[in-house]
C-alpha cells in the first residue's frame, strides 16, 4: 500500500545541514497496522509526513497504492490526500470555531458531496467513535479523549484506505489512550484500513502488527 525507497530528508539553514532521514526504505502492506518508535528528533514524524504527502523527501521515491507521487501538482496532491489518507495528530488540530459535526465534515468539503450526504457520513463516523451525543458541541467543551475521537471521526469520514496517526495517545492518560487505541484496532480489523502510527508508548506499539524503530534518521529495526 505504501512503498518508501531510499528516503532521505535534509533540512538546510544558512550554516547547518541536518539529516533527518537517512536512506529509509519501508513497505507497508494493505491492511497492515504498523507502529514507528524512536527517541525524540529521530525523524518519526518527518517520515510520517512524507508518507502522508505533507512533506517532500530530499531524495527517494514514495509510492502509494502503486502510484508515484513525486510529479503530482499541488492540486493533485490535495486530491490524493483527500481520497486516500486520513490524519490523526497528537494535539488533535480541531477547528475550535466549528462544532464537532462541522469539524468531522471537513474532508468532505473538498469532494463533490451534497450537504445532506456530508451530514450523514459525519454522523455515521461520529457514531463509530461513540460521540453521537456530542455533535453540536464545540471542541473546547470536550475532554482530551473526546477531542481525539472527533479527530479519528474526521480521519475516517472520507473512508480513506490509509490512516496516519502521529502520537494519537501522546496527550492522553492511559485509560483514554487505550480507548483510542481500541478504536484504531477496530478500524484496522473491521474495515481493513492500513494504519501507520508514530508512538512513544511501547505498550501501544506492541498491539500493532509490526514495529519499526528509527534512530538518528536511520531505520534500526
Amino acid at each position: 500500500m505504501i512503498r518508501l525507497q531510499n528516503i532521505e530528508k535534509v533540512y538546510r539553514t544558512d550554516t547547518v545541514e541536518t539529516l533527518a532521514l537517512n536512506k529509509v526504505s519501508l513497505e507497508i502492506a494493505k491492511g497492515e497496522f504498523l507502529s514507528i518508535m524512536g527517541p525524540s528528533g529521530c525523524g518519526k514524524s518527518t517520515l510520517l509526513n512524507i508518507m502522508g504527502l505533507l512533506d517532500e523527501p530530499s531524495k527517494g521515491d514514495v509510492k502509494i497504492d502503486n502510484q508515484k507521487t513525486d510529479n503530482l501538482s499541488d492540486k493533485q496532491l490535495a486530491q490524493f490526500r483527500n481520497k486516500k489518507i486520513g490524519f490523526i495528530f497528537q494535539s488533535y488540530h480541531l477547528i475550535n470555531d466549528l462544532q464537532v459535526l462541522d469539524n468531522v465534515e471537513l474532508p468532505l468539503l473538498y469532494r463533490s458531496t451534497t450537504a445532506k450526504e456530508r451530514r450523514q457520513l459525519a454522523t455515521e463516523a461520529l457514531a463509530k467513535v461513540g460521540l453521537s451525543n456530542r455533535v453540536k458541541h464545540f471542541p473546547s467543551q470536550l475532554s482530551g479523549g473526546q477531542k481525539q475521537r472527533v479527530a479519528i471521526a474526521r480521519a475516517i469520514v472520507g473512508q480513506p484506505e490509509i490512516i496516519l496517526a502521529d502520537e494519537p495517545t501522546g496527550n492522553l492518560d492511559s485509560a483514554m489512550g487505550n480507548e483510542i487505541m481500541d478504536i484504531l484496532l477496530q478500524l484496522n480489523k473491521n474495515d481493513g484500513t492500513t494504519i501507520v502510527m508514530v508512538t512513544h508508548d511501547e505498550n501501544m506499539a506492541h498491539k500493532t502488527h509490526r514495529l519499526v524503530r528509527l534512530f538518528d534518521g536511520s531505520q534500526v529495526q
Binding site: 509526513n49 488540530h93 470555531d97 466549528l98 471537513l106
Partner: protein, 410 residues
C-alpha cells in the same frame, strides 16, 4: 461549502473583537464618504428636473477666445445666443437664461436673500418645470417687458408664508415689484443653469445687457432643443461650423471656441479645449477615491495577514485533508468579502444618517441627497473590490504556507 465559510467567518469576527472593530470601522467609514460623494454626484448628474429632455438637448455654457498668451472665457452673451445661435436651422428652439444673481429683499423687516434670473419665453417650453400654481410668462409678456415673475416653492413659503395661493400677488426684488404669475417646484443650486428663486423675463433686466452687449461673451446660457435624438449630432456639427466661422472680437485673440454639448460635458466645461472638463473631473474623483480607499485597504491587508497567520493550524488541517492552495485562497477571499459586506451594510446605514444630517442642515439649496439604487450598487461594487483587493494578498501568502510548518505553529 459557502455555509461552512460563513460559519468560520462569523466565528473569526467574534474571536478578536478589537480587530473586527478596526476593520469594520475602516470599511464603513470609507464607504460612507464614498457613498455620500456618489449620492452627491448622482444627484448633480442624474437628477433631470427640470430639463427632462436632456437626451435631445445641447447646452451652451461657455465661449472662449484665445490668443498667444491670453484667454478670455465666460458664458455667452444674450446677443450671441439670440443672434448667432438662433440662426442654426435644425433645433426646434433655444432656451436662453441668465446666470442667477443675488439680492436682498425685505418682508416685515425681515431680510430675505433672493436669487433671480432672466429667461426668454421659450425657456419654459424647453424645460419642464413642475408648476404648483399659475403658469409661465409668454412671448407677448416678454415682448411687453411685463414685470411678471415665476417663483420657486421655497421662495413662496419664505416670502408669503404658508398661504394656499400667491398668483396675482407682488414680490419685490432689487427694488422692483413683480407680479407673481406662477410657482414652480424647487431646483437644487447644483443645477446652476436652471436654478433660481425668481424667474423674470429678460426684457425687464435693469442693466439692459441683453440689448447693449453685442459681443460674444456675457452671462447667459443656452439650451438647444432638437426635434429628436437623431438630430443631436447634426446640431452639434452645425454649432461647430458656426463657431469656426466667427471671427475673434479683438486682435489679441486668434481663435473662438465654444461647444454645444451634452449636459455632463457642459456642466464641467472649463472653457479650455486642451483639457476636457470631464477628464479633469473624472481624474480628480478617481484620485480622491483612490487615496480614500488605499489607507483602509492597507490597514485591512495588515489585519488580515495577522488574523490568517493566527489560523495556521486550521490552514494545515485543511491542506492535510485535501484543500488545495487555490481552494484556500477562495475561502479566505470569501471570508473577507463577508467582512467587507458587513462593513458595507454599516457604511450604508451611516451614509443614510449623514445624508439626513446634510439635508436637514440645508448646506446646499434645495439639494435633497438620497441613497438610491445607483448609489447602493456602487457601494456594493466598492465593497466587493475592497474585499477582493484586501483579501487576495493575505490569502495568497497563507496558501503558500507549508503544511508541516502550519501544523507545528499551534
Amino acid at each position: 461549502m459557502l455555509k461552512n465559510y460563513l460559519k468560520i467567518a462569523i466565528a473569526v469576527l467574534r474571536r478578536r473583537k478589537f480587530f473586527t472593530f478596526i476593520s469594520l470601522f475602516g470599511i464603513s467609514f470609507t464607504l460612507t464618504i464614498l457613498l455620500v460623494l456618489t449620492a452627491f454626484i448622482d444627484k448633480v448628474v442624474g437628477d433631470n428636473y427640470p430639463d427632462k429632455k436632456r437626451d435631445r438637448s445641447l447646452y451652451i455654457s461657455r465661449i472662449s477666445q484665445t490668443g498667444k498668451n491670453t484667454m478670455s472665457s465666460s458664458p455667452p452673451s444674450f446677443y450671441f445666443l439670440d443672434h448667432y445661435v438662433r440662426a442654426i436651422k435644425t433645433p426646434i428652439t433655444i432656451a436662453i437664461s441668465s446666470g442667477f444673481s443675488g439680492t436682498n429683499t425685505y418682508v416685515n423687516n425681515k431680510k430675505i436673500a433672493v436669487n433671480y434670473k432672466f429667461t426668454n419665453a421659450e425657456y419654459w417650453d424647453v424645460l419642464d418645470y413642475d408648476f404648483l400654481e399659475g403658469k409661465a410668462f409668454n412671448k407677448q409678456q416678454v415682448a411687453n417687458s411685463d414685470k411678471v415673475a415665476v417663483i420657486s416653492a421655497d421662495m413662496k413659503k419664505e416670502y408669503f408664508g404658508d398661504v394656499p395661493n400667491v398668483v396675482g400677488q407682488y414680490i419685490e426684488a432689487d427694488n422692483v415689484k413683480y407680479r407673481v404669475i406662477g410657482v414652480v417646484q424647487n431646483v437644487p443650486i447644483t443645477s446652476y443653469m436652471t436654478y433660481s428663486d425668481i424667474y423674470l423675463p429678460y426684457t425687464v433686466a435693469k442693466d439692459g445687457g441683453y440689448k447693449s452687449n453685442k459681443g460674444y461673451q456675457g452671462g447667459y446660457y443656452g439650451i438647444l432643443l432638437a426635434n429628436s435624438k437623431d438630430d443631436i449630432d447634426k446640431i452639434h456639427d452645425e454649432y461647430e461650423q458656426l463657431i469656426k466661422r466667427l471671427p475673434p472680437e479683438q486682435k489679441m485673440f486668434d481663435k473662438v471656441s465654444s461647444h454645444a454639448d451634452t449636459y455632463i460635458r457642459s456642466y464641467v466645461d472649463t472653457g479650455d479645449d486642451r483639457h476636457s472638463g470631464v477628464f479633469i473631473v473624472i481624474t480628480a474623483i478617481s484620485i480622491f477615491a483612490f487615496i480614500l480607499m488605499i489607507l483602509p485597504t492597507l490597514n485591512l491587508v495588515n489585519i488580515n495577514i495577522t488574523r490568517i497567520m493566527e489560523r495556521s493550524s486550521e490552514i494545515g488541517v485543511r491542506k492535510a485533508f485535501g484543500a488545495s492552495s487555490s481552494t484556500l485562497v477562495y475561502q479566505f477571499i470569501v471570508e473577507n468579502i463577508i467582512l467587507t459586506l458587513l462593513g458595507g451594510a454599516i457604511g450604508v446605514i451611516l451614509s443614510v444618517i449623514v445624508l439626513q444630517i446634510i439635508n436637514s442642515a440645508h448646506l446646499i439649496a434645495n439639494l435633497e441627497l438620497t441613497v438610491n439604487f445607483t448609489v447602493l450598487f456602487i457601494g456594493l461594487l466598492v465593497c466587493l473590490v475592497f474585499g477582493l483587493i484586501s483579501g487576495v494578498y493575505p490569502a495568497w501568502r497563507m496558501s503558500k504556507l507549508n503544511v508541516v510548518t502550519a501544523l507545528k505553529a499551534q
